[in-house]
Symmetry: C2
Subunit: 321 residues, 2 copies
Amino acid sequence: VPELELIDAVRRLLAPAGDRVLVGSGDDAAVVHARPVAVTSVDTVAEGVHFTRDTHAPGEIGHKALATALSDLAAMGAEPGEAYASLALPPAMPQEEALEVVRGMARLAGEEGVTLAGGDVVGAESLVISVTVNGWAEQAGDLVTRAGARAGDVVGVTGALGASGAGLAVLRGEARGLDPAVAGRLSGAHRCPRARLAAGRALARAGASAMIDLSDGLATDAAHLARASEVAITVRMDDVPVADGVAEAVGGDAAVFAVTAGEDYELLFCIAPEKWEDAARAAAEAGSPASRLGVVDHGSGLTLLGRDGLPVEGLGGYEHG
Amino acid sequence: VPELELIDAVRRLLAPAGDRVLVGSGDDAAVVHARPVAVTSVDTVAEGVHFTRDTHAPGEIGHKALATALSDLAAMGAEPGEAYASLALPPAMPQEEALEVVRGMARLAGEEGVTLAGGDVVGAESLVISVTVNGWAEQAGDLVTRAGARAGDVVGVTGALGASGAGLAVLRGEARGLDPAVAGRLSGAHRCPRARLAAGRALARAGASAMIDLSDGLATDAAHLARASEVAITVRMDDVPVADGVAEAVGGDAAVFAVTAGEDYELLFCIAPEKWEDAARAAAEAGSPASRLGVVDHGSGLTLLGRDGLPVEGLGGYEHG
């Protein structure tokens, strides 16, 4: 069982009771003012599976755990509210590192306007961090699911893809000879991803019919969306926005890398063509310019079209179940 | 990364979208109708620390993880709403056992009227299960914290104490020669605790001024409550309700065992003396008869009074921080 000293130190990093938080950390549960619709997601990261302490500093592990949970709220177009952190800590982990994990989380929470309102700290055989986020909306109709895409919609994506995957290659020493500034930017994208919260809300308001965050990579996540919406999605590989430096870092076909590498946490969305222009402007104003890269049709599954106009096979895009 | 097959099997155990749940499992986040005040708690249990697979079957691990989280809602007097489960699974764990963990959770959720609305399943180096529960109230004043006890209140506790700790002794083979029915009841109390949700709400309505669930044992948890409320609490050991069979199972002073063993998940509460009778009746009607075992006074800390009227020392009752 972790030292009570550590639990108290963690508690001091959590939000005190305030306007929104009626009862803060230190009681049996946190109590907050709710809004009419609650949006909840849980994300768990484990050492040796989702990160190693070679590639991520403790603060970055905390940052990443919260960012990936918030990305699910972004994909719904929800207003982020509170985050709750569970830390399962191995005995060999120094207290200072455990505190750094929470500090990294608290820093990101502050930047995103999220209240770190509670959690749990326990001993365990290996390091596992689980983050639950509660987001809010005034009504269910303000949110966007994966299931609303319709034939005739266009497909867009925020930002540019592949930076996180290329950053992992940099961190693993697999991408040598890069400009240090480029290498630093790519590895930063991998270590400290940001959820597209403002863009998600802007796209929801602009009328996106379906949305998903790109955690597993476009080739996989677009197939999830197609399946949930019961539509066919076609994406042109030539129109995939590839992040700067990815081509130099990974060699080969950068677009193929960008749609398969994952962990970019950009938002893929569908929207009626007449709403595209307003949506793209709204996303850009929210800090995430959007690119149009595909269409929705009747049918099922995801097709990735290469430069030659023929489907590119073997890039994932599976539908599970 | 766990098999997608397992994730789909878990998903089928989660609640579908329904009246309260607007968007169920399978999207980026769950969406539910909220009420004005949200009450949230996270509880994490880890193999080798909180349970071993010798003493707990997989379904019991799931049950216990959810029950301990719900106990925090009980201690606030909140209406339980949704539960979200995070499973970090070691590679050696058979899929069927992982599913049994979730089934155990789903069974208890059904019995308690809680919606198992989402979660996450990931690979990890060791088994860690984290459960987040969202409960609800119409207004903050309907809830009870640890901090409201006042000098002059009486102290009560639901149910009887020590069964879980004695059950652990039974499971470890440390309590031989017991009647098998008694042994079974005690070990069941340890393996499958229940949160006192109905009693917690009844006590909140009856005007309890402060409440806490007994997870670490009365000697520790009453001290937490005394500290949060900035009062002195005196408990008479003679009035501690000891569960049937505990004396036979553990030998020695059963009351001392009962206040230190923990994991009973009964509720300790304070209430103005003129409200005691109604509160005790309400708790009994909710299935948990209450015993009066102490008083609240000005001052600080917890005093446990022995049969001789002198303080019993060395039973915990520390105040951390």
